[in-house]
Amino acid sequence: MAKVTIDHQTFEFEGSPMVLQFCLDNEVDVPHFCYHPAMSAPANCRQCLIEVGMPDRDRATGHAILDEDGNPVIQFMPKLMTSCTQPAADGMVIRTHRSSDIIRRAQKDNLEFLLINHPLDCPICDQAGNCPLQIQAYKFGPESSRFEFEKSHKPKQIELGPNVMLDGERCINCTRCTRFTDEISESHQLTIIERGVDNYPMTPPGVVFDEPYSMNVIDICPVGALTSRDFRFKARVWEMSSTPSITTTNAKGSNCHYWVQDNLIMKVTPRTNMFVNEYWLADEDRLDYRRFNDNRPSGPTVDGDPVTWDLAYEHARGLLAKCEGAEILFVGSSSACVEDNFLLGRMAASLGADTPVFVEHAVEGAGDNWLVTDDKTPNREGCLRLDMHPLTGESLRSRLSSGEIKVLYVLEEDLITSGLCSAEDLSGVQVIVHDNSISNQLVDLAAVTLPAAMIVETVGTYVSENGYAQKSVPAKAIRAVNRTLMMSIGKSRADMHGTPFDKWHHEENLVNCLPGWVSIPEIARALGQDLSFKGPRQIIEALADSNEAFAGLSYEGMGEIGIQLEEVAATA
């Protein structure tokens, strides 16, 4: 196999990878700004310089020339090369900053250049603390600057579009943003204008940067030139914890990080998963986080009055025990996780009721065959695989008006706002709802409400449109103490410090809710049935054993990047 030597260490490789990507894949940290693995390499930042040598060959014979020790003589190229555009070749010898003073000096020189016209306003810059320029300036840059002149001035605080703000002076002209709009989203809404040191990205005249993926340029910007209009000045990066999870705005299952401060979700950023969303995240996924913070219920209620959880369970039990199984309609939810829907199905079966139904939330034509789908819920595919069927408004209303339904047991859905029925239609029915928002109109007329945890607070499995199963981990805490959640929250975040004293833990913002896999078994127990599992992990194990559509599925199998259900089924 072809071999390349990087700083005295030999690596084997196949094909002709670019040296920079090869280094990054092999944990050799080569500083760079403009290079992004998903886009073309313009080699304009000039930071990833390396020395490149090839074995010297005898022109006549083509054999490598050896020195007296029998090692090949290496001929280094006179110029420093950019590793992002340098293909690896067999026998190539590469020196990075780890072994070459010339490279260390060149990188220091380049950072000195990058910083002379960069405003050093890190104390008020959103990017500070998570800024490639800041990090690399500390790691590889000069101690000070020799620049003694006025910095160049460019437009600041430019609203490129509804979601993105530009600070021209911070821009280092890496062109990642313009390449994103040219090569990835193909909206062509950004271009570089002006010339030389006055360059900055801008929309063409009359164009607004409003494409549905515009906020990706904020993540790929290696400085604070492009910031989120929604998030800017809200929190510093070190004041937040980030938790790897998935978004629930649509059925794509895009991977994300939830950023939490004081137990509130502050922003959502993409998490790389080459099987799902690669490096990107749609704007709708990012801006859809306020529902995790606002309008959250303050605890269980019975007939509108706050009660303890035990009283609420008892009341729900009373309502369910009074009627026949056929008189109860269980409505599951494609917004809830597989675990909750599975338990709901088990409870329905044990009461002799029909398999739960679920409500569809598709917007025709909303999908773009990329990261946005017509379906606006994260788990429709999971519901279908649990043999649940969509509920139509017509059938619901006819069953309500015929009086065959006495109790409506609803998981997270809002049947009224969804337009399936009206409040009057529900007048003769007792409603039990696991609500996650007080904007749910069922809350006002429900006999019992049992607030449900949302994806940012619970552990649960979601199956994307394509049958790709992924699990969430809690990004923020709930008021109740739950061992599974506490264990999971501690392990889920990058800083690994999940204690009640941590910065994301704020008493005021703790929501008094419970995951469905906690509250549903409590009601079942009150009804004299045993639905208790040790935790969601065991629920999935039971599901994998009992349902072929989930055969072989396990939390270990899903890990952080998820798994294709058909694939695990084939190997199970």
């Binding site: 080699a43 304009n44 930071q47 950019t82 250049f113 016209n117 271009t191 010339r195």
Partner: protein
């Protein structure tokens, strides 16, 4: 009058040299006059005769030893031979680089004005040699008058069947497209020129791939300077051997010297390569004006290293001799400066140009060119420090060879060599040191 030959049979005597690129013929810019004077005979010969295969034309150019006149001096025939084998499915292009904008260089303008048909014939011959079907003539927009004129002459060519489909009744067809630049020096960089032609922002491209592999719209492309292509008809008319026998052996041919600055007769002069710099200044251009003494010259456009008056004795205008003297041939546009010239002010103006023209793609050039200008401006105002001189040299090292194209080098060389060769004048402009002489610190 027959041109005199030296002992080795080479035409090096400039006094008896007969001009071929810019002959003194009235109205040569008109098609009829050009034809009366043997114009388009080379093209006709090549198209009519079966002997003249494209490869033979390339070989003739190789034999002539013609080196590109755009500044880098790359052998033209060799460049043509880099084109991949002809594939009927794949279009091939020629770009003629008429984006002449290096300060001190104004020779292409002269050709476009006085002998545009030699360029057009050269383009057609080059297209034939590399089997290109389309030629793009990229001219800087400031040459508006000559663009208009060439458009008129090009229409005549199409009318006479010298361009377009089935040229002169043969099965050889070429479309010539004139493209106007919009006023950026960087568009004269060949890969930038291609981006500009495609309607993209004129950022130079990363090489490799080279234009012959992946050029305009990704297709094989050859890019030549105006003067280079204008020399092709002469090579085919008079033979590659004749061309190779003119001027300096390793950098042969007639060349257009653009002399500007403090001389009595500035202008464009056509002579063999290898003319003595002193001859060019004192005999051809009439010497320094007002009887002053020479201070310095820049031999080939503003980016080539400056030479002090005491460095030019016996130096000739060809690549080898100038390299030995510590400079370069460049575009042969010579700037002449007399003894009164403020060399710091001269350098300030040069740094301003490169600062203004840096496209801003690569970090060292974008940031470095402005910094150089800042420092030199401060020195010119008399507010500089001694340490600035070393800083200038340091910055040149930080810029040279570390960018996609050669603009950073072009900006750094004048600074490096002007400071090195006139350091006393720069030091005289610096603020006095606060530490008295003789005290060791």
């Amino acid at each position: 009058m027959e041109a005199k030959k030296d002992n080795s049979g080479r035409i090096t005597d400039w006094r008896s040299y007969e001009r071929v690129l810019l002959p003194s013929i009235k109205d040569l810019h008109r098609l009829d006059v050009y034809e009366e004077n043997g114009g388009y005979q080379a093209l006709r010969k090549v198209l009519v005769s079966d002997d003249w295969t494209p490869a033979k034309v390339t070989d003739e150019v190789k034999a002539s030893g013609l080196r590109g006149r755009g500044g880098a001096g790359f052998p033209t025939g060799l460049k043509w031979s880099f084109m991949p084998p002809v594939d009927p499915e794949v279009p091939r292009f020629i770009c003629c680089n008429g984006d002449e904008s290096e300060p001190g260089t104004f020779k292409d303008r002269q050709l476009l004005e006085y002998n545009p048909h030699s360029l057009l014939e050269g383009i057609l011959l080059a297209c034939y040699a590399i089997s290109a079907g389309t030629a793009f003539l990229y001219i800087r927009g400031e040459f508006a008058d000559w663009i208009t004129h060439i458009e008129v002459e090009l229409a005549k060519l199409y009318e006479k069947g010298y361009a377009g489909k089935n040229i002169m009744g043969s099965d050889f067809s070429v479309e010539i497209v004139i493209h106007k630049g919009a006023g950026a020096y960087i568009c004269g960089e060949e890969s930038s020129l291609m981006n500009s032609l495609e309607g993209e922002r004129a950022y130079p491209r990363v090489k490799p791939p080279f234009p012959a592999q992946k050029g305009v719209w990704g297709y094989p492309t050859t890019i030549n300077n105006v003067e280079t292509l204008a020399a092709i008809p002469t090579i085919l008319n008079k033979g590659g051997d004749w061309f190779a026998s003119v001027g300096a052996e390793r950098h042969p041919g007639p060349v257009l010297y653009g002399v500007s600055g403090h001389v009595n007769r500035p202008g464009v002069y056509e002579y063999p390569t290898g003319i003595l710099i002193t001859d060019l200044i004192y005999k051809v251009a009439g010497g320094i004006r007002n009887g002053k003494k020479l201070k310095a010259i820049v031999p080939g456009g503003s980016s080539t290293p400056i030479l002090r008056a005491d460095m030019i004795e016996g130096v000739r205008m060809d690549a080898e001799s100038l390299k030995e003297a510590g400079s370069m041939m460049g575009t042969a546009g010579m700037l002449v400066m007399d003894e009164d010239t403020d060399i710091v002010g001269f350098l300030r103006r040069i740094t301003h140009f490169y600062h203004h023209e840096s496209c801003g793609q690569c970090t060292p050039c974008r940031e470095g060119t402005g910094w150089l200008e800042d420092i030199v401006s401060r020195l010119e105002r008399g507010e500089g420090h001694y340490r600035d001189l070393d800083l200038l040299t340091d910055l040149c090292t930080q810029m040279e060879g570390r960018t996609v194209c050669a603009l950073a080098d072009a900006a750094a060389w004048p600074v490096r060599y002007t400071v090195e060769r006139f350091r006393d004048e720069f030091e005289a402009r610096c603020r006095p040191s606060l530490v008295p002489a003789g005290i060791s610190i």
